[in-house]
């Protein structure tokens, strides 16, 4: 096996990011001068390993609604909480406290009772009262009605105490900060990784990708370079609201660096030499 000589950037040039679009919901950027593995690692981290805050434990004091306890608890868990300050909160498992403390958790309370006669009362995420102003259910302006949790008829009541904790989506999807991460490279299929199925006419059946506008179309007489590697990656990250999209990307980079450095830390020079010396194992 050839020793791995590459760095995070391929071909010497430093990795670059070009941001195409940035709104409160999404960020579109192009990552260049890096390896496919690095780009995919970034994607994976954004989906599964950027830490956010979400309700993890629900204590029911009263629930006379038509919905079952576990069902409401599940809905509460999926409500996005503002996780901009997630860094400052400890993971529960890393905290010295026994159960939950200010350091590693946020308490949210919900107490709604319907007293109206003829209409149902909506219990929404706006009814959740947080004891930490940094971690509140997200709200898009004052007119945002909030996320519906349950509907109550007259006399029905829900009173719960929720403990929100920090976590990653690897553990449970409720901790994922993004809705979807679009990822593409090589819109013109110059690398010939894909072999598209064509019934009659490629142009009629395969509309060009939007990213094709930002890529370089192959020349008419361009020769297929079988050694070429992807190094231009089109990303689009959409947040569910718990974090700003740029924060997701930045946190993901931090996490990625952390991971790489921990690998680096773990590997001593001897290990590297040993790896390079040993012939690959046959299975």
């Amino acid at each position: 096996m050839e020793p791995y000589t590459g760095t995070i950037n391929s071909g010497g040039a430093k990795p670059e990011i070009k941001i195409d679009e940035l709104t409160s919901e999404r960020v579109k950027f192009i990552l260049t001068n890096t390896d496919l593995s690095m780009a995919n690692a970034l994607r994976r981290i954004m989906i599964a390993e950027v830490a956010t805050i979400a309700i993890d434990m629900v204590e029911f004091e009263l629930n006379t609604s038509v919905l079952a306890d576990e069902f409401i608890a599940h809905r509460l868990g999926l409500i996005p909480l503002d996780s901009t300050e997630a860094e400052k909160i400890k993971y529960s498992r890393e905290c010295s406290c026994q159960g939950a403390c200010k350091e590693c958790s946020v308490e949210l309370n919900l107490h709604v009772k319907c007293t109206e006669e003829d209409t149902t009362k909506d219990v929404t995420s706006r009814d959740l009262v947080s004891n930490d102003p940094r971690v509140t259910p997200i709200q898009d302006g004052l007119k945002d009605p909030g996320i519906l949790i349950a509907k109550l008829r007259k006399g029905q009541e829900i009173k719960v105490k929720c403990i929100a904790k920090k976590g990653v989506a690897k553990e449970h999807a409720k901790w994922s900060p993004c809705a979807a991460v679009a990822f593409e490279y090589d819109p013109f299929n110059k690398l010939r990784h894909a072999h598209y199925w064509i019934e009659d006419d490629e142009k009629k059946e395969w509309p060009a990708s939007k990213n094709a506008e930002k890529d370089f179309p192959p020349g008419d007489d361009e020769v297929f370079d079988f050694t070429a590697k992807p190094n231009r990656f089109y990303f689009e990250v959409e947040t569910i609201g718990s974090m700003k999209p740029e924060d997701i990307v930045m946190n993901a980079f931090k996490k990625l660096l952390e991971k790489i450095s921990s690998v680096q830390m773990g590997l001593t020079t001897n290990d590297v030499n040993a790896i390079n010396r040993e012939p690959p194992r046959e299975f």
């Binding site: 496919l36 593995s37 780009a39 995919n40 994607r43 994976r44 989906i47 599964a48 029911f60 629930n63 038509v66 079952a68 306890d69 576990e70 069902f71 599940h74 999926l78 149902t120 989506a169 690897k170 449970h172 999807a173 409720k174 994922s176 979807a180 991460v181 679009a182 990822f183 593409e184 490279y185 090589d186 990784h193 894909a194 072999h195 598209y196 199925w197 019934e199 009629k204 059946e205 395969w206 509309p207 990708s209 939007k210 990213n211 689009e236 959409e238």
Partner: protein
């Protein structure tokens, strides 16, 4: 085309249910046959079925002298004047009730029967004296929900919800002990139509009997029936067969002919020949038959009636003062062609039957197929209910007679003028008809003396299971062929016949044993529930050229004439030439609504050896009819299953043949049942897949009810995250199925990934699972009745509660009243509730025995009927969460079922360029052999629907070769920037590399099926064994093992795994040891003996020592290992005197 999801409309319907109409009126129509047939029991203003029934029962005359007595004695007449059924009400002695009405939800929740008081006006008269009348209470008879005796009858959505029902409650069922029961539709022979039959079993009746016969099932006004069969004998004569109280009777048909009207042999001969005197086949046989009858030596009608009366007097148990002639007339009325009142009509029809029979024998006409819907009708639930009620009323009167006759015979003092005597007699026999009806509904068993002219005694009722709405609605649309046919070895009855087009769904039948016997009505098929007014039909027919008698030219009757029958009554004749135009004209005035539209005009044209020609008009109830378009004026015509066979109905506009086609289908999907209609793009699928989907739709976890709070079903399955399908047929909206979501729209990628999708397994995205994909819940009922702990009649000495001494562990789950907290979590062994035995002063608990964790959902205290006694019964509803786990079953709507094999992390799943990741991954190998192209189309359609935010129509037969579905959806996809064929480039989630192949990905509606591993897993290391064979027992409930059968044995043998084989079949099964004597080879002869060895003078020691009792030595004894089943075999053989000798060798 439905392009909107009607979300707001639906929301409005739920929030503000109307008090004047239903949200989905179409649903009410589906159960109409049930409700209308029940309503017709007592429907004013015309007479109800039960009123006709008591007319038919008539007056029973009982004499107070023995049968042999020469004097007439006193005559007691008893009869029933009227029948009344009240609405369900509380008993009169209840004081504390606000309202006396009982509503169905109360019966469901309290596990009671929804019943109303039935009473009869019972009359008696002694010797033409004063008529005495009393109202007798004959029990609480079960009431059909939403019938005219139900308290919900006039309610609409709003009131229904107020009374804890579904907003669209349809009714049609009964509530017996809290369980919803349906009398299911049965297929029976078409009434009032003479059917030609060739049955080998007919020849078994006697030496001269042949396989030929004609049969007619005659229906009385009270919907009870009597079948008359005419048998052809080898000598050419005919015998009429009928059943009376399950006994078969055969009577020469000439006897009946002659007792019906005053006639002579010539008259009969001419009637039978109908002018065709050259036909020697007919004339020979008629002559012979008439000649043969000469041996009876009777001429006049009176003589014939006397013979009949004499023979049947005892069987019909008629009083002695009736003359033989009167008895004979009674027999004719009760037995012969009971759908007709007039003797002349009966005579004419009997002649017709003989002619048809002779034609059949001569080969001029073919036999009618009893398995064809052409010759079938439906036994309606209300009609069967009425039949049973009638028989029970009749039984009551008969038992009064039996009692009096017994008293007379035993020379007791029988005095009809003694009020006391009469009242004891009247009160003695059981008159609780309600109880008998409840028993019938609860068990489905028919207890009957007459058999009711039906072919089965059990299986009439089914539970209306609410697994999901499809299952529920299908109960009301299903028709069963009868359990008699289930045992039949031939498969002819199960065949799908072209005659069933439009009436019986060709797709919706289960596979396996009930296949083809349990069918479902097509969506457009209606069942007629009332007798239509056909009084004017004969007038119209005469206008069109019908003659009352067969045409006579010169002195002879003209040849080539066919008869016109209306409900089995010959109303006239016409020539073959004229017949078609008469039938056509009649049809035209029917469509013009001069006669009811539901009248069936069956014109059977003359043919060479085909069906016996004639015009057969039907106006009675229980027929299957369906709407089609009449092409001449574009109006709707109703077509029946009899007439359809001879009509030309085009399916599509291109099928119309000028001058031939008269009608056209409204929609080609009308041939499908409700559930079959809901399979998307079913016209693209291989047909068995659509059958499988019909099965699986009914096993889906969905929304069983919108009134879950008030349901106490034994087991309920509920899907928490149901969605409306993006791809749905029009019928989905028509039937308001969004009120009962049944699955989830899932992003499905067809790709072979990771290997966990082999063999129909499916991979589910772990994040989707965590967001609630396919999350289900089961509700189970537990009933605790403290009454069971004491003997009947003992005073109550139990109460729910906890004494002070109860351990604290109980108090965690139970409150002071002994009942569990709402929301408490129970694991195996936890207390479910506690009660105090007041005599012993101790608290006992009832334990929760389920193996899964459950939550207390509801606790119901069930009081007694009068509300007086303390609570002795509680109902506890448990909620068991069932998130999807590996091994749970899922299915798309195309018969593509699969088992969850792995929850795969989202990041590792493949993704598209837009970042979409599949919820479900299925293997492409699921398609080539199954050819469910409809699923591909659905996937594309779903993708388009999701992209444009519209609902997509998937009604079958909407696309054709010119405008294909693929093009329609492909264009939409292309417009949104996707590949025309629904493929997308995808990237590996783990490496980020683009796949070489593009992947088919789209949105498919997935159903979660109710089969879950939690209910099925079975594991055992050691456990209970069978006490005779010592082998492990079977059965999951008993902690048994899984059978290691012959085929499994074969595979181990083939692999040469002898140690494994020995382990399975011997060591882990019925391993045993015993002593064998190698000399004599027996395992039974070894005896254990004690020998005393002397050590010294004082001490001896005993030694056990085994020796052969026959060989008298221990020399050859060996301990061997044999299966204990072998030991058992040897014992069994020994008991029969067969010895087993084992020949052994030592290694």
């Amino acid at each position: 085309m439905p392009s909107t999801f009607h979300t707001c409309e639906r929301e409005k319907l739920f929030l503000n249910p109307s008090s004047k109409r239903f949200g989905v009126p179409e649903l009410q129509k589906l159960v109409k046959p049930f409700i209308d047939s029940f309503n017709s029991l007592l429907e004013p203003p015309t007479k109800g079925i039960l009123h006709y029934a008591i007319d038919d029962i008539g007056v029973m005359e009982i004499s107070d002298v023995p049968y042999t007595s020469p004097t007439k004695g006193n005559i007691l007449k008893v009869w029933i004047e009227d029948v009344l059924i009240g609405k369900p009400l509380l008993p009169e002695n209840v004081r504390a009730a606000k309202s006396f009405q009982i509503f169905p939800s109360e019966c469901r929740e309290r596990f009671k029967t929804y019943a109303g008081k039935m009473s009869i006006k019972f009359c008696w008269q002694v010797n033409n004296g004063r008529v005495n009348m009393e109202i007798r209470n004959v029990g609480m008879c079960p009431i059909m929900i939403k019938s005219n005796r139900c308290n919900l009858q006039s309610f609409y959505s709003k009131q229904l919800i107020e009374h804890h029902e579904e907003s669209e409650e349809m009714g049609g069922y009964f509530i017996i002990n809290g369980i919803e029961k349906i009398i299911r539709h049965l297929i029976v022979q078409r009434r009032n139509y003479v059917m030609a039959l060739i049955r080998p079993s007919f020849a078994n009746r006697g030496k001269s009997y042949t396989e030929y016969g004609v049969s007619i099932r005659c229906a009385r006004l009270d919907q009870t029936t009597m079948t008359n069969t005419l048998h052809y004998l080898k000598d050419g004569s005919c015998m009429l067969r009928f059943l009376w109280r399950k006994q078969e009777y055969l009577v020469p048909v000439i006897l009946f002919l002659k007792s019906l009207v005053e006639t002579n042999d010539k008259g009969i001969f001419e009637m039978l020949m109908l002018g065709d005197f050259e036909n020697t086949f007919f004339s020979d046989r008629v002559e012979l038959m008439l000649q043969e009858f000469k041996s009876y030596n009777v001429q006049s009608r009176g003589q014939c009636l006397s013979i009949l009366g004499e023979k049947f007097r005892i069987i019909f148990s008629l009083p002695s003062h009736y003359s033989n002639q009167r008895v004979g007339e009674y027999v004719l009325k009760k037995v012969l062609l009971v759908h007709l009142n007039n003797n002349q009509d009966k005579f004419n029809l009997l002649i017709f039957m003989i002619r048809k029979l002779y034609s059949l024998v001569a080969g001029d006409c073919c036999s009618d197929n009893p398995d064809s819907p052409q010759n079938q009708e439906i036994l309606l639930s209300g009609n069967l209910y009425g039949m049973i009620a009638k028989e029970k009323l009749m039984d009551y009167l008969s038992s009064i007679r039996t009692l009096i006759v017994a008293d007379v015979n035993s020379k007791k003092n029988v005095d009809f003028n003694n009020k006391k005597y009469l009242s004891t007699i009247f009160n003695k026999p059981s008159s609780d008809i309600g109880k008998k009806l409840s028993y019938f509904l609860a068990t489905g068993n028919l207890v009957s003396n007459t058999g009711l002219d039906l072919m089965q005694t059990s299986g009439y009722t089914i539970v209306a299971e609410k697994i999901n709405f499809f299952r529920y609605i299908s109960h009301f649309r299903c028709v069963h062929r009868g359990s008699f046919f289930a045992e039949l070895k031939t498969t002819t009855v199960r065949k799908l016949l072209p005659e069933s087009w439009g009436f019986i769904c060709p797709v919706h039948t289960p596979d396996g044993s009930p296949c083809g016997l349990l069918n479902h009505l097509s969506y457009s098929c209606r069942i007629i529930t009332s007798k239509l007014n056909a009084d004017r039909i004969p007038i119209f027919l005469s206008e069109f050229g019908m003659t009352i008698r067969p045409l006579i030219s010169g002195h002879k009757t003209e040849k080539n004439q066919m008869c016109i029958q209306l409900d089995g009554k010959i109303v006239g004749w016409c020539s073959h030439k004229n017949a078609k135009s008469i039938a056509d004209k009649l049809r035209f005035i029917k469509i013009e609504e001069k006669i009811p539209i539901d009248i069936e005009i069956g014109y059977v044209p003359p043919s060479n050896g085909g069906q016996y020609p004639g015009i057969y008009i039907f106006s009675t109830s229980a027929r299957m009819m369906r709407p089609v378009k009449y092409l001449a004026n574009g109006k709707t015509d109703m077509v029946g299953s009899f007439e359809q066979v001879y009509m030309n109905i085009a399916c599509l506009p291109e099928d119309i043949v000028e001058g031939v086609t008269t009608h056209q289908e409204y929609s080609p999907t009308n041939i499908l049942s409700i559930v079959a209609n809901l399979t998307p793009f079913s016209d693209y699928n291989q047909s068995p897949r659509n059958m499988y989907q019909c099965q699986m739709a009914k096993q889906t976890m969905g929304t069983p009810s919108t009134a879950l709070m008030y349901r106490t079903d034994n087991k309920l399955y509920h899907l928490q995250t149901g969605q409306t399908p993006i791809v749905r047929p029009e019928l989905h909206n028509t039937l308001g199925l969004d009120g009962f979501p049944n699955g989830t729209n899932a992003i499905v990628a067809v790709i072979s990934y990771t290997g966990y999708d082999m063999e129909d397994a499916l991979i589910i995205n772990k994040s989707s699972y965590e967001r609630g994909f396919g999350y289900g819940t089961i509700y189970k009922s537990e009933i605790i009745d403290l009454g069971e702990f004491r003997a009947v009649g003992d005073p109550i000495h139990h109460q729910f509660g906890l004494e002070d001494d109860a351990p604290t562990s109980w108090r965690e789950k139970l409150d002071n009243d002994g009942l569990p907290f709402i929301g408490a979590k129970l694991t195996t062994g936890d207390p479910l509730c506690a009660y105090i035995d007041r005599i012993k002063g101790v608290t006992k608990i009832k334990m929760y025995g389920g193996s899964e964790d459950a939550y207390i959902d509801q606790v119901r205290l069930l009081g007694d009927d009068l509300g007086k006694d303390e609570v002795q019964k509680v109902h506890i509803k448990l909620r068991i969460p069932r998130p999807p786990v590996i091994g749970d079953k899922f299915s798309s709507r195309h018969g593509q079922k699969g088992v969850l094999s792995r929850l795969w992390p989202q990041v590792d799943l493949p993704f598209t360029e837009s970042g979409m990741q599949p919820d479900i991954i299925i293997n492409p190998h699921a398609f080539p052999s199954r050819m469910t192209i409809g699923m591909f189309v659905e996937s594309m359609a779903g993708k388009c629907g999701a992209l444009f935010g519209v609902a997509q129509d998937c009604t079958p037969f909407k696309y054709n070769e010119e405008s294909t579905a693929i093009d329609y959806f492909g264009e939409q996809l292309l417009r949104s920037g996707f590949n025309y064929h629904g493929n997308e480039p995808m990237y590996s989630g783990t490496t980020g590399e683009e796949f070489q192949a593009d992947i088919y990905i789209g949105v498919v509606f997935y159903q979660r099926l109710r089969h879950m591993v939690s209910d099925k897993w079975q594991v055992r290391s050691t456990g209970p064994v069978h006490n005779l064979t010592m082998q492990p027992i079977g059965g999951r409930k008993r902690n048994g093992g899984i059978r290691f059968g012959e085929m499994e044995r074969d595979s181990l043998l083939a692999h040469g795994m002898s140690f494994c084989l020995q382990d399975r079949l011997m060591n882990c099964s019925d391993f045993s040891q015993c002593h064998l004597c190698r000399e004599c080879g027996s395992i039974f002869t070894s005896l254990s003996l004690k020998t005393h060895h002397k050590i010294d003078s004082n001490r001896t020691y005993k030694k056990h020592h085994i020796q052969c009792d026959i060989c008298n030595t221990a020399k050859w004894i060996t301990l061997i290992k044999i299966p204990s089943a072998f030991k058992y075999l040897a014992t069994e053989l020994a008991s029969m005197g067969i010895k087993i000798i084992l020949d052994t060798e030592t290694k």
